[in-house]
Symmetry: none
Subunit: 247 residues, 2 copies
Amino acid sequence: MLSNVRIVLVETSHPGNIGGAARAMKNMALGDLVLVRPQRFPDPDAEARAAGASDLLTSARVVDSLDDAIGDCQLVIGTSARERRIPWPLVDPRAAAERVREAQPGRTAILFGRERTGLSNEELHRCHAHVHIPTNPDYSSLNLAAAVQVLCYELRMAALASSAADQSAQEWDVEPASSADLERMFAHLEDTLLQLNFFDPDNPRQVLTRLRRLMMRVAPDRMEVAIVRGMLTAVQARIGSQTDSAP
Amino acid sequence: MLSNVRIVLVETSHPGNIGGAARAMKNMALGDLVLVRPQRFPDPDAEARAAGASDLLTSARVVDSLDDAIGDCQLVIGTSARERRIPWPLVDPRAAAERVREAQPGRTAILFGRERTGLSNEELHRCHAHVHIPTNPDYSSLNLAAAVQVLCYELRMAALASSAADQSAQEWDVEPASSADLERMFAHLEDTLLQLNFFDPDNPRQVLTRLRRLMMRVAPDRMEVAIVRGMLTAVQARIGSQTDSAP
């Protein structure tokens, strides 16, 4: 899906932002960058900010009109900071990424406007939907590269979710303990605590219930259960030898 | 919720990144920034990158140790780029933000490591969970400010969803333990296990690390910590009396 997404920067003023956008794209495995009438490009500032993503600058296409940038796209989403006089379908970055996913295998363009003034109304009207990043109302001036970062991140999250719907299980080094393992551990714990005279005579179950809740919540693996039981056995060995030596 | 989230930058090399992080935070309405041993701060480069967010730099707290940064936090999440030998609970930024939401009204710290080397293993072991931004495997070098941007964006999305939805936060009967509470518990545990001669002489840290992972994963409440420490004290009392009665 990510190879079908194009990032379009319209009339960018600062070449450093183009470099930062390229880096953000490559970090999230996007590669198709189109620049509409950039003020300065190519430029050393763009190269410097791109760091290891200068290959995206080399392959970026520079065009004279928005038509040239988005003509072949089947879904066009424009970033918008402001509310418009005529409301347009407005989504947040997550819903925008979902739209892109649903549009596969069609080609999508995400448009980013000028640093100061954003996209014009005419440009916004070329879009199927607008996307708004929900910034702090008291400080909404998101840097252009930061905005690209957020959108590309959501696109990547959507791509990963769709490619790996199965592998929800996290890698872990040890198999989870079985219910029977856990019950044996709780019995062992209760025995040991009895030998320690640990229980409150007024409410003997309270402590055990809380310890059980703790362990059930964490869902320990087999080795963790083995370590806990090893500790209990070590305690019992010491208590036992003490009891034996008592008069 | 966002006022309960602290961003902690550990040994940042480039002050520009501190400024970029401050801007990313303020864009998403976060305000609590703590710097652990920054190489250069305050610094004009930080001010320049912060743009309109220099108030966050002014109020940022500079501390000498991670303890000073997170001691009062009830949930600690560390950013991690690499796989570890002993896997730790690992979440993506969205799930991390969800963890933070569930932990309300507890205070959370999100830790970001050094530009080149990230967080140390010891620092990562202070965390309840690790968060990994799912970058392009072929180009994973996310700029520090960009990483802060992604996490703060997800935190803001979770905060907005949580204030919009009905507060379905889970009821819990006891306040979560603080990071300092947990460290005292681990020290107590280590002392007790030493007295029991429980450690494998060939690999004494392995068991402690696994027990630490278990307890960090479950994020115990204050009463649970008190029960565990009560058990340790009971064991020590018996071991002590046994040792006293030995010849």
